[in-house]
Amino acid sequence: MWYAGTNDQPGDYRHSGCAGCHVVYANDREPRHSLIWAKYGRDGQTATVDPTIAAKVDHATGQKEKGHPVEHAFTRAIPTAQCMNCHMHQPNIFLNSFLGYTMWDYESDAPHMWPAKQKYPTAAEVRATNDRNPEGAAARGKWADLEFLRNVYDLNPELKDTQFADYHGHGWNFRAILKRDREGNLLDAEGKIVAPDDPEKWRKAGEGKFVEPGANPGKTVHMMDIHAEKGLQCADCHFGQDSHGNGLIYGEVANAIEIGCKDCHGTVDQYPTLLTSGPAAPPNGTNLGLLRNPDGKRRFEWFIDADGNRVLIQRSIVDPKLEWRVSLVKDSVDRNSSRFNAKAARAKLMGTISDAGAVNWGPGVPKENRAHGDDKMACFTCHLSWTTSCGGCHLPIEANWKTSTHKYEGEETRNFATYNPQVARDEMFQLGRHQTTKGNIIAPVRSTSALVLSSTNVNRERIYIQQPPISSAGYSSQAFAPHFPHTVRTTETKTCTDCHLSANDDNNAIISQLLLLGTNFVNFVGLNAWTGLESGFEAVRVTEWEEPQAVIGSYLQKYAYPDFYRLHVERNRRELKEWTRGATFDKHLSGETDHNELFRNVVQGTKDRVGCLQLRGEYMFVAEGKGGFRAYDVASIANKGFSEPIVSAPFSPIGQDMHVSTTNATCMALPTNQNISVKRNDHIVKHIPENQEQAFRPIYRYAVITDSVEGLILVDIDTLSDGEFRNNFFKRAVTWNAGNILAGARHITLAGDIAYVTTKAGLAVIDLADPLHPKLTASLSLNDARASAIQFRFLWVSDAEGLKLFDVTDLRHPMPQPNGSVALANAQRIYLARTFAYVAGKQEGLVIVNITRPLAPAIYAKETFGGKMTDVEDVIIGSTNASLFAYVADGRNGLKVIQLTSPESQPNFYGFSPAPKPELIAWAQTPSPAVALSKGLDRDRGVDETGGQMAIFGRLGSRPFTRSEMERLFLTPKGVPFKVLDTPDMREYVPLRLSDR
């Protein structure tokens, strides 16, 4: 706050220090963001008559100079727009969600935002743009132009996919979040589908460009927080202390907050006290009843209405004409109140489930038996409409980009990292345990700072690319945090089937997401798709390097890099070739604008077939048949200075040996593909208990290898991330094949402690909770079992007859579910991405099965692209920006890149699971048949099925659920699954007993 604002782009004007908040600048024309200040525009121009300021003229335009306050006066009437100058940025809480926006991901309405003719900015132009806006993509986009940027909101009526905000902190664009169903269809307020071409989609007749507080324009529902919609500004909840602090230094922002929901809304038992109750509240709370507005009126005032009801009014701090009736929770659950809401009462007064699986709700349920008491879960667990779900950002740092920072003391740095949001979605709803200061109650969890980092040195050598860092706790830095997203709605809340098994058996993927088990949908594939071959493995270059890192041949490439797209389609006929693009010298004899870009597909030969491979951090772990198990160092894969970028030993082979020879290593699995270090975790758990970190489960130390002869082999691979490079010698920790049960083992799926191994006989289930002493828990016979994949309560296995379904509610004892079988000619590997199973169908191509209802699967498509994809062995899915991609190991046909959704092919592309519309966008030949793929980085998996945490949680004491905590959401105390409906049943209502009154 002590660093002056940059005052260089629309919607980004501010001062510093006290004036940073208390002197208002014109930043946003939207009345719900600015109220009385909206009329002053978004150009930071003054409205004062004081000639010292008003007479300042921008000589280029003849207009009033920009970057001056509306009035040269302090005010307490601070609009949200003022806060949003800073709080639009991820590390600053990312409060765009309060206004119903998230970062634009470069794809929605791309035709309006990218120039028709590809830009080739010079280094100076890039620098000029990045000096204002750290987005790497900005220099290529239209919004690098200030005049375009300030008018982005004005594009809205013509847009098809989204709506943009009128504020542009950092020069960014923010897209609206709209109410959708799980398939991604737009919904209206009543929940009816709004057609993508409905002319009243954005504005109904008579609604203007901007709407007043209280309105949500158009047929669609813009998911701005209900408080924001009604006209509340940040300062209407965050009063003096929340903004100024209380003199104590807090380590976590959330701990410095004194306000809580119940302070104004009360609880089911009590009307609000208007005493603050948050972690930073004084012991008896701050009495909000004392607050007065600038006009002298009380901020909060109680009344009794004509019917004798208590009414609490809050008056706007910004607009003296605006006031709201505060919703009182107690009334919403009171059957005698005119404000009674059965759904609210049911949710809030629900009792815990009985042994027999019965539930009751109502005021007669004793407080201590409430399932959803406010001492057990945060109000906003249900009362949020959506959560920011950033699948990840890319921070590529470049040496020799000398830069002055825009914060602290403005110091200079030699290096500069652009800031590149990649997957910014809104459909993920996840739960975990809140931080200790909030009582470790249940709270929504969002993905935070799921960063991947790259570094380019002075010689423009990419010395490492897209590396997910490891947290100091040893967990992966694909971080999560409990989070109040400020997206409260009254109707668009979470309902019963968002957290419990649906009676319609249609939310298995939703619960998988909820529990942070991941959905394999937003996985990060990155610059290379890694495919296992019959005689090696290959890194196929599949994206641009510069930002945005578009997949070659994709919708995004077509708009962000039209020339490059054309070269790919027309020159290379969509083949991912080895070639060098660009010109050594442009017409100004500079290499800056269209520099040489080397595209290379790197092949590493192996002794035998690579049945399974997995990239983790800088290493590629490979099961290479008779070659055994090996880890390769692939850190330098994109480094032009390395002619041999994949190495088995970065220095002398005598100094290390990352190889274990086995008879026939058919497959391998890692407990997680996120980068972790068990050793760091050991240290922090033992020596820094105040960090309240959980210990890794023992399995996380190992890679688990299947060998068709030797059975199961565990190798300690943590040695690679212990910071000590002299001990990198792999050896077997255990070899297990009791009773030769694993003869012919060919594939393994790890679900935490549990290994599902396909063998000659069928499926073997092995418990590795004590990794050195594997225990067989089940063995099921199948006809030529091939591969398996798990999603929450179900496991799919491919065999000679097709897909077979097993209920794994009890992970150790799968129960066959014949209803879930799908007959296929030649099913191989399976990839489950939310509500679709992608099955490698050999000659049938890519088989897409709708598994929304696992017990009633439906074949959605068998895609061969007209006979071009007929030897499919394996498939993985990943998200890049707003689009979903499949990467297919197509046997003798090589590798295929398929765009599954794009704004062009699927208008519902922002849904939880939009139906895929496969388009073949690129392909690569491979020197031998492509048989396997390395799965993309899991960006939405924080915990495994057995409750083992793998990703860091960013608040002290916060964590994902343990397995038993997960089970409380779907099992009765007797261990039987219970199912719910979203409609309240008044027969379950228990009135208050007389004795309790």
Binding site: G240, N284, G289, L290, R292, D295, G296, E301, I304
Partner: protein, 465 residues
């Protein structure tokens, strides 16, 4: 604003008592009072400066804090002023109450239009301010400046914390019992200024009775701690003195308004507001078994059947005068009796007698202001109130209520000055509560029962001596 049911106040009083024993019960002294005692004090002073509104005082570094952690004053004064759960917050609710059904009904019966905009109501249910600052909110009811005076003149100097300078700039010296009584009585009895007189017609339309005792109500309203620096600035409070001065001032106010040609009569009748409600509001017996409920009152020579002037303050004042200003006691007794006699004759005689009585009441007030009101005097007054000398005068409800309040307030004054240990006073709480119970319901007032209850309480108090 008013206490509709006195017993209700008694209940609250019990709750407050433990607090009062800790010293929170304000007792005022007269260090600064002397200079201002004679100054005319009126809530709607012509010289009253503009009222800037509660918000002006409510800054979180001034009087609007959530915690009473101020160095000089508590700084949570506004919080106490607006406390929704206690009588402390009554002033802040004064305007809001006009929105309720009872107020609407009163306004309807009187044909006033909405109560929230009727001058007749707003005189006391909002702040009597002739000039209002931009942040002034009528909805704040009786705000800070209603009692402390329009702040436009003194707020600047007030910020310096110099109390003497603030007084000089126009801050009302509420630590002076007479000044305070004058301010309170404007609404808690009535004044000649617009909208500050709850006449009998308003009560007939449903308005609650007005009942008041300065020291007790001071305590109910207090939002200050009498700590060392308070005493340094304003002197030590003496509850007994406040009580006595309050009685004298109340009588003065009653007689003065009664003498007013516009307020003293209503049509062919005297304004019934000045009379003792209970003297007329009695049960009617048409049957054979008539039971006279009117008791003879030796100090009130007025024939049965004629409504007497409300003598509650005269009774109390009589007790106070006998102990504290014995030289004037006899004159006061004689003049009160003469006034009642004149009241039975005609209005002109009554007005003349009232003028004489008023002068004596004012002389008593002045005498009380400079008197000491020590331990012995307080005990003596309590004793006297229940004694044979006074006791027979408790023939009507209003006077009896005053007697209980007096007993209570004087006992607390003894506690606050350290004359009676708090534990001992707490032990006789139940006796005082019995006396309160005897006046809980005006419709069920029985003089004999009341005298017994009061006598019993006073006997117990006597043991503390």
């Amino acid at each position: 604003m008013f206490v509709s049911n006195f017993a209700w106040a008694g209940v609250r009083w019990r709750h407050l008592l433990p607090l009062s024993f800790c010293g929170a019960l304000g007792l005022f002294a007269l260090i600064l009072g002397a200079t201002h005692a004679s100054a005319p004090v009126n809530a709607a002073l012509p010289g009253d400066k503009p009222h800037l509104g509660v918000a002006t005082c409510a800054g979180s570094t001034c009087h609007g804090r959530s915690e009473a952690d101020g160095k000089i004053v508590r700084q949570d004064e506004i919080l106490r002023w607006q406390e929704p759960s206690s009588p402390t917050g009554a002033h802040s609710r004064a305007f809001a109450v006009l929105n309720n059904a009872r107020s609407a009904a009163i306004a309807r019966r009187l044909g006033l239009g909405p109560a929230t905009s009727a001058a007749m109501c707003l005189g006391c249910h909002s702040e009597p301010a002739s000039v209002r600052g931009p942040r002034f909110q009528q909805s704040d009811g009786v705000g800070c400046e209603a009692c402390h005076g329009g702040s436009a003149g003194w707020i600047e100097v007030h910020k310096t914390g110099n109390h003497r300078a603030s007084l000089a700039a126009g801050l009302v010296p509420l630590e002076n019992p007479a000044a305070k009584a004058s301010v309170c009585l404007d609404c808690h009895f009535g004044s000649a200024d617009g909208g500050q007189f709850v006449n009998h017609r308003i009560m007939a339309a449903g308005h609650p009775r007005i009942s008041f005792e300065l020291d007790l109500f001071t305590t109910l309203q207090a939002h200050h701690d009498e700590d060392a620096d308070y005493v340094q600035r304003k002197g030590r409070t003496n509850g007994a003195k406040i009580w006595a001065v309050g009685q004298a001032m109340a009588l003065d106010r009653a007689l003065s308004l009664f003498s007013s040609p516009t307020l003293g009569t209503e049509g062919p009748f005297p304004e019934f507001y000045f009379l003792d409600c209970h003297s007329c509001h009695r049960r009617i017996y048409d049957s054979q078994n008539f039971n006279q409920t009117v008791a003879d009152n030796p100090a009130r020579p007025i024939p049965v059947g004629m409504p007497p002037f409300n003598d509650e303050n005269m009774i109390m004042l009589s007790a106070a005068a006998r102990i504290v200003a014995p030289a004037q006691a006899a004159r006061f007794e004689a003049e009160s009796k003469a006034f009642h006699g004149a009241f039975a004759r005609d209005r002109n005689s009554a007005i003349s007698a009232a003028a004489r009585l008023r002068a004596t009441a004012n002389a008593l007030a002045a005498a009380f202001q400079s008197a000491s009101f020590g331990r012995d005097q307080s005990f003596a007054i309590i004793d006297l109130i229940a004694s044979e000398a006074i006791n027979p005068r408790f023939t009507d409800y209003e006077g009896s209520v005053q007697a209980v309040m007096a007993t209570d307030t004087l006992l607390n004054a003894l506690v606050n000055t350290g004359s009676v240990p708090a534990a001992n006073a707490a032990a006789i709480r139940s006796d005082i509560n019995r006396a309160y119970a005897a006046v809980r319901d005006p419709n069920d007032y029985r003089p004999a029962d009341f005298r017994r209850a009061l006598g019993s309480a006073v006997r117990t108090i006597r043991t503390l001596r």
